[in-house]
């Protein structure tokens, strides 16, 4: 990998992650921390990132720079019908997952209302976790397709699998907890990653 590739990749990873240290960014890129650290330092020097005490953020100039670089860097990916097709499959799983996360947090009740899920109904929770398992198996297939095109995307399969395994082990926060690498957190980073590579906008569910 040439140095400029890593410059792009590190800043891209930081944009997906929003803020974090070199180790965090390296973890989502599935690459060596030392190289990422150097790339982030040089991004700070170039005014593309801001950083303090080992935590970095993308600077406005860095955003513009990324937007300029993406079309060329991912020209092949964007032009590949296999990538588009895999992304369409991803979107379909995404819609299912979003309604699943809603079901996880808000239980359907009589009269079409929903109440916050206090997780006291094990049968209900297990049903949702089982649906998550179904979607996880679909997601694995899609990630295999993406990883065949862009190897580093395979790391998301590992991260999603880690989150799902924690859920199975009873750590229910790992379904949609916002402060941890829950299934939802990792899935949204993956979504953001793909959107940036493909140059698309996030579509919100109606």
């Amino acid at each position: 990998m040439s140095e400029t590739d890593l410059d792009l990749l590190a800043l891209h990873g930081l944009a997906v992650k929003k803020a974090g240290g070199a180790a965090d960014v390296a973890a989502i890129l599935g690459t060596e921390e030392s190289g990422v650290a150097a790339a982030l330092e040089s991004a700070v020097e170039a005014g593309r990132a801001a950083g303090a005490k080992g935590t970095f953020m993308v600077a406005p100039a860095g955003r513009d720079w990324l937007d300029e670089r993406y079309p060329e860097a991912y020209a092949d990916f964007r032009a590949d019908p296999e990538a588009t097709e895999a992304y369409e499959r991803f979107e379909r799983i995404n819609r299912e997952l979003l309604s699943l996360f809603t079901d996880w947090q808000m239980m359907p009740a009589a009269g079409g209302e929903r109440h916050p899920n206090d997780h006291s109904d094990a049968e209900y929770d297990n049903g949702v976790i089982d649906r998550l398992g179904d979607q996880h198996e679909r997601a694995e297939k899609v990630l295999d397709r993406f990883a065949a095109l862009e190897q580093r995307l395979g790391i998301y399969k590992t991260r999603l699998d880690d989150a799902y395994d924690k859920v199975l082990a009873g750590d229910k926060d790992y379904v949609s907890g916002a402060r941890i690498d829950s299934y939802h957190t990792v899935w949204f980073e993956l979504h953001e990653d793909l959107l940036r590579m493909l140059g698309r906008e996030r579509e919100e569910a109606p």
Partner: protein
Amino acid sequence: MTAVADRVVVLDGSSVPDREVVGNKGRSIADMLSLGLPVPPAFCLPIEECRRFHAAGGELEEEAWRSVLAGLAGIEEKLDCRLGDPERPLLVSVRSGAAVSMPGMMDTVLNLGITEEVEVALGRLSGDPGFARSTHVRFVHEFGRTVLGADLEESAAGASPDEVREAVRRDTGELVPTHPLEQLKAVIATVFGSWSSRRAKAYRRHWNISEDGGTAVIVQAMVFGNLGEGSGTGVLFSRNPLSGDPAPYGEWLAGGQGEDVVSGTHDPLPLAALAEQMPEVHARLLEASELLEREHGDVQDVEFTVERGELYLLQTRAAKRSPLAAVRTAVDLASEGAIDSREAIRRVSVEQLASVLAPRLAEDVAAAAEVVARGVAACPGVAGGRAVADSDAACEATDETVLVRPTTSPEDVSGMIAARAVVTERGGSTSHAAVVTRALGRPSVVGVGEGVSEALAGSELTVDGSAGVVYAGRLPTEEVDPASVPGLTQLLGWAEELSPVEVVEEDDGALDLDAEGAALDEGAPDPAELAERLQGAAAARGSVLASAAGARAVLLAGVPRVVRLPGQPAAALQLRLAQEKGNLRERKEESET
């Protein structure tokens, strides 16, 4: 229970087989039958057969299959119809049912028995060929997905069964069998096989569940609510699940079949419509619901279908209920003697109580306030602050803020944590913003429309995430008077009787756990360790006391008084203490027996 050719168990109410034999679902059907309630006829391949299936290398033994055929013949005889018969067709559902429910198990295949000819017959009987067609398509889709493992898109409206068969073949290289008995055999094998699925194995490993168990298979006749006059389907709650009012509450879809209830294609009518249409069925249904409620000691949610004037109960379970109804039904059931007061206290979670008592906007305040945006109520609660249009501003602010974004992405999570409430222009109840705010407990309104973020930035707002409304200005919220919540005074009275600890407003000698560095943070507090700190204290206060572990520590240390902090409702502390007291006492009773 009757043994047919030894290898299946006919569920007919003659006895109630053990959960370890027929699994949870089989047991639940047997329970209803033993109460004399009408349930569609069914038989069960017991858990033992799952072990045999695996011991035989993933094959259903010939003798077991002969027993299945005998069980099926029993259902056919009872209902005077046959699997695959175009004149009088029988359709069955096939479900898994382990003694412990776990993920990864194949769940259900419905409408097994539908073929080209049966589709025509079902179209004629229901007077709705479109329904018969979609039932057929759904069956092929479901079979392809669960039995053959095809990853299929939702079938397009108007797709034919053959088109779905072709999609399955393209994805898996396998054919969906056309003969119902072949399909039945394959589904049974899939249910048994799913005991060894990757997910089920991982789950058992995590939870130390023995690999020696297995799942039962329940084969049950399907009944239809759309077979002309005197048919329909519905759901009945033995008490009102919204208000907790003791009157039964339900919905009736005349001429509707299962999926119609969920899909919203039919407008449901109140239960009174069933009383008018078929008074005897209605009376029988209410009797059944009363019986089931008494049997289970809890409010029941009963699914039922009426096929040509014949009532069938499909499922009963403890009803989901609003926090308000949770309080009222727990107190009513205890007052009626169905449960004791300790159980009533356990039935209401501290979260439900907090939700009932959550500060809200007074009606007159809300009515007089200026509405600046309306959208989807995504996370309940009321909070206000200065509107900021980006997450960095929310993170850097020293005052209380409301994050108002066109839409949110993972980049915004830190801002959502920092803000008191969240508003987005786009998205619905399943959007990223909705999901994350609920995880964080931040009131939110989503989908308020384009341009709102820019227009509102800088102004003071109040977000009502329960109503889906954003108001101009910071509006005062009002406390809820516990006496105004039906049943709550009684519940708290019982809690006080049960718990020896007094909850007070002030006590000069109170040990302050927050000041002692034992504040409630992300980690789970250890009751024993906390109890040691509290030993000998005359009173205690601290954020940790709102947790179950904190309440338990107070009881273990014998602290007589707890001082409430601002934001800790006295009622919630009282309830928690009573629940933990009940748990401790129960443990003691268990160890004594």
